[in-house]
């Protein structure tokens, strides 16, 4: 009868939580897949030349022959949007990588830098924070000249301080955890503890943040291009498309509305997927 004293297994106690997958996530996944294909192999979605001029077909409204209409030089807008996916996504992903790498370095140093380094890094992050990002971007463009790479770096540097704060908090909480104390008590070296416990646990939430940040970076980069500080025409990067359509706002709404909507859809899709990923990771972590 001693079995009476056994604890109930946690499986028996656990409340089963199985949520139906929301349709929004499926939709976002589909959209992301579409953008991925457009960036990887634009020829699959569109066989026309995005740069082919057809002056006879200039400024046609969206219709059967041209889903998204044509621009002032008769170039097919759908084709341009599809071919613009690659530079746009490259800037988005590039900016996210720049931003998060910078954030990991700054955040870790701010958390673990000790009495000398940490306050200095803290101040640097604060200065970056208080500096208007657009001004910073202008500065970088002035130094490096407008290009896709400059746009990615500018956006990356502009958004890094927020993530650096997050990394700092995560590193501090991991370092103060009981499992790190246990590792210290086992006699492991600080380097090993940092590699095996602190960084992996601190950086885990960044996976989801990365997905969120891609969409935001593309919006940012588009605004840079719109101001003429990003990728220059005739590239069909979406921000550049927006800027190119600006003079025709009154006559050809589709030249601005369509690229704008595409940016919105991409940002929505990556944000939705990022949030979903975050929820999944949190569920598996807790």
């Amino acid at each position: 009868m001693t079995t009476l004293l056994l604890e109930p297994a946690p499986e028996a106690r656990a409340v089963r939580t199985r949520r139906p997958r929301p349709w929004g996530v499926w939709l976002a996944g589909l959209a992301a897949l579409g953008f991925g294909v457009a960036a990887a192999a634009p020829g699959l979605l569109d066989t026309t030349d995005p740069l082919a001029l057809h002056l006879d077909r200039a400024l046609q409204a969206p219709g059967p022959g041209h889903w998204f209409g044509t621009d002032e030089a008769g170039r097919d807008l759908f084709s341009r949007v599809v071919h613009g996916a690659r530079p746009s996504l490259a800037i988005g992903v590039g900016a996210s990588l720049v931003s998060l790498s910078l954030a990991v370095v700054l955040g870790t140093l701010a958390a673990l830098g000790g009495r000398v380094v940490a306050p200095v890094v803290d101040r640097v992050v604060e200065v970056l924070f208080s500096f208007p990002s657009l001004l910073l971007a202008l500065l970088l463009v002035a130094l490096l000249g407008p290009s896709a790479a400059t746009a990615a770096v500018a956006v990356g540097v502009g958004t890094a301080p927020g993530y650096a704060r997050m990394v700092r908090a995560q590193v501090l909480s991991a370092r103060g955890s009981a499992y790190v104390e246990a590792a210290v008590a086992l006699g492991h070296s600080p380097g090993r503890i940092l590699r095996r416990h602190v960084l992996p646990n601190a950086l885990r939430p960044l996976v989801a943040v990365m997905a969120l940040s891609i969409g935001q970076s593309i919006v940012w980069a588009s605004s840079l291009s719109f101001l003429g500080l990003g990728v220059a025409p005739p590239s069909s990067e979406w921000g550049a498309l927006l800027e190119a359509g600006r003079p025709y706002v009154a006559h050809a709404w589709w030249l601005t509305v369509v690229p704008g909507l595409v940016v919105v859809v991409l940002a929505l899709a990556t944000t939705t997927l990022g949030k979903h990923l975050q929820a999944v990771l949190e569920r598996s972590a807790s």
């Binding site: 009476l4 004293l5 604890e7 009981a178 104390e181 006699g187 492991h188 646990n201 885990r204």
Partner: protein, 560 residues
């Protein structure tokens, strides 16, 4: 509208205020309804306290919540009879329950910090209960709040009422919670683990407060896992296990002459003076392999004049002040104290996880606290730690196998086969099956997690193990098994334990020598028997007398 309205303190004669027959509570699952409470029946009379005792998963809390109509969505409550004050409450809607709860049935939850609104002053919290139940006039409400807080023993109630829960101590918070539960003079108070998070002296005060309510004619349903708390307050006991009542009867009878095997095991599992040197759980002693290395003799861990200060907003707070101790090989030194006594800081100092401001710690006769960490790292395998909450002490990304492999000293076992063999040996020592290796600690039970934690502590083959509240989070029967395991390991491996706990019974059970700490200082030291049987310091006397004992032990003492 208080005592006069209720039946007198003896009150057994009249009608029961609560009457339950054949209560079943189930929760809807995909595969159908799963009952977690089976066939519970009892009567509760005014001025009486009924205790529902059981361990995690026994169904005691679900039973309590059913009595106040808070079973939750998806719960299926069936009963032949569920009468409150003569009226059937089975079909009561959520709205009807809101009218009854608070006014006629008070509910006290375990952790007042979680149950009270963190942004609201406690006075406003108590006032809310009055306002919801028709106290329209503000001035009268305020006066009543102060009266209630004073009645539950909150000193300078006017000032306290304006403070938020996090500004109050655990005991004051629990009293505020009780004040809001009794604000409307309910006939019944359901208290779910009302003293579990509290220090023993504060626990005694809260129990006195509940006893006072009982004298005034309030009927109390006390939910607890702690038999000594039950012994102090309850008139009758229901013992629950696996959702069923396995035994019921007058408290004294159940605790002194338990009829059911489960009750007997539960009572035998409670550590204390009567259990020293005996096994607490019915499981036989584990057969353990011999240690590889000879253990050093003499004093293994020695501290003298330890002082540790922390900087605070108001200057500095002295957490540990002038603490000295010595731990002899193969023995157990217990450190007992309430929260804030500095016992955990002492543990951290002993482990050299924090450096003392004054004083020294020596390990195996060599300086330990005064050498640089780089020199200490090599020697850390000599002293291990078992932390209070095992789950948070494991990296959440790691399986049990990875946790244990990480703790193996690199030189001892070089090949994968050797490491594998060592893991098997460690698991055997702590009584775990090999299939836990692939699992994440999150999926293990509390007892299994603490066993993994002990296995990790044993992996470097230490001579000293620091146990910081190592059994505090466990159910009493699991605690019994873990304490037995620790005793077996100590005997087999010649380990020395520094055992830190707030639980006097546990410390008395395991310790050869004891330090009693209060406000960072050692107020009493000596052999366990001297300290607990002949306490000299007034604080130790207070602790020992506040310690609720089982009725059986009390009876024996009276007979002496």
């Amino acid at each position: 509208m208080s005592a006069a309205q209720h039946a007198g303190p003896t009150g057994r004669s009249g009608e029961p205020v609560l009457s339950v027959r054949g209560l079943h509570v189930g929760f809807a699952r995909r595969e159908g309804v799963r009952d977690v409470v089976h066939d519970v029946s009892f009567d509760l009379h005014p001025g009486e306290c009924l205790a529902v005792v059981g361990e995690s998963g026994s169904g005691k809390s679900v039973t309590a919540r059913t009595l106040v109509g808070l079973t939750g969505d998806g719960a299926l409550v069936r009963a032949e009879r569920l009468h409150f004050d003569g009226a059937d409450v089975r079909g009561l809607s959520a709205r009807d329950w809101r009218r009854t709860r608070g006014r006629r049935i008070g509910f006290v939850l375990q952790d007042a910090l979680v149950s009270l609104d963190p942004l609201r002053p406690v006075g406003a919290e108590v006032e809310e209960a009055l306002r919801l139940h028709g106290w329209r006039e503000r001035r009268a409400r305020r006066a009543k709040v102060l009266e209630l807080l004073t009645a539950v023993g909150v000193p300078s109630a006017r000032a306290r009422a304006r403070q938020r829960p996090d500004e109050l101590s655990g005991g004051l918070r629990q009293r505020a919670l009780i004040a809001s539960a009794i604000a409307l003079d309910p006939e019944v108070v359901v208290a779910d683990e009302p003293t579990t998070a509290l220090d023993v002296t504060v626990q005694a005060q809260v129990l006195d407060l509940l006893a006072e309510q009982k004298r005034r004619g309030v009927a109390i349903v006390l939910i607890s896992h702690d038999l000594s708390v039950v012994a102090r307050l309850a008139d009758r006991v229901l013992v629950m296990s696996g959702g069923r009542v396995v035994e019921s009867g007058p408290t004294r009878e159940v605790l002194t002459a338990p009829r059911h095997e489960y009750t007997r095991a539960l009572i035998a599992a409670v550590p204390g003076e009567h259990t020293r040197g005996e096994r607490l759980s019915p499981a036989p002693a584990a057969v353990l392999p011999r240690p590889r290395a000879e253990r050093p003799g003499g004093t293994v861990l020695e501290a003298s004049g330890l002082v540790k200060r922390y900087a605070t907003a108001e200057g500095s707070h002295t957490a540990v002040s002038g603490v000295s101790f010595s731990l002899r090989a193969g023995r157990t030194l217990g450190i007992v104290g309430e929260s804030g006594s500095g016992k955990s800081t002492t543990a951290r100092l002993a482990l050299a996880l924090t450096a003392p401001d004054e004083g020294v710690v020596n390990l195996l006769g060599r300086p330990w606290s005064q050498v640089p960490e780089a020199q200490r790292r090599e020697r850390r395998k000599e002293v291990s730690v078992v932390q209070q909450d095992p789950l948070s002490s494991f990296d959440p990304r790691w399986t049990v196998e990875r946790v244990l492999l990480d703790a193996l000293p690199p030189r001892r076992s070089r090949t994968a086969g050797e490491r594998r063999a060592r893991l098997r040996e460690l698991l055997a020592q702590v009584g775990l099956d090999e299939d836990v290796l692939a699992r994440f600690p999150l999926t293990l039970s509390g007892g299994q997690r603490q066993r993994v934690s002990i296995a990790r502590a044993l992996a470097p083959e230490p001579s000293v193990v620091v146990l910081d509240e190592a059994v505090s989070a466990l159910d009493v029967s699991v605690q019994a098994q873990v304490l037995d395991l620790l005793a077996d390991l100590q005997r087999a491996l010649g380990l020395s334990y520094l055992f830190i706990s707030h639980d006097l019974g546990v410390v008395y059970h395991v310790s050869d020598d004891v330090l009693v700490m209060k406000d960072g200082e050692v107020v009493e030291r000596g052999s366990a028997e001297d300290v607990f049987e002949r306490p000299q310091h007034p604080y130790t006397r207070e602790l020992v007398s506040a310690l609720p004992r089982l009725a059986g032990q009390r009876a024996e003492e009276e007979a002496r």
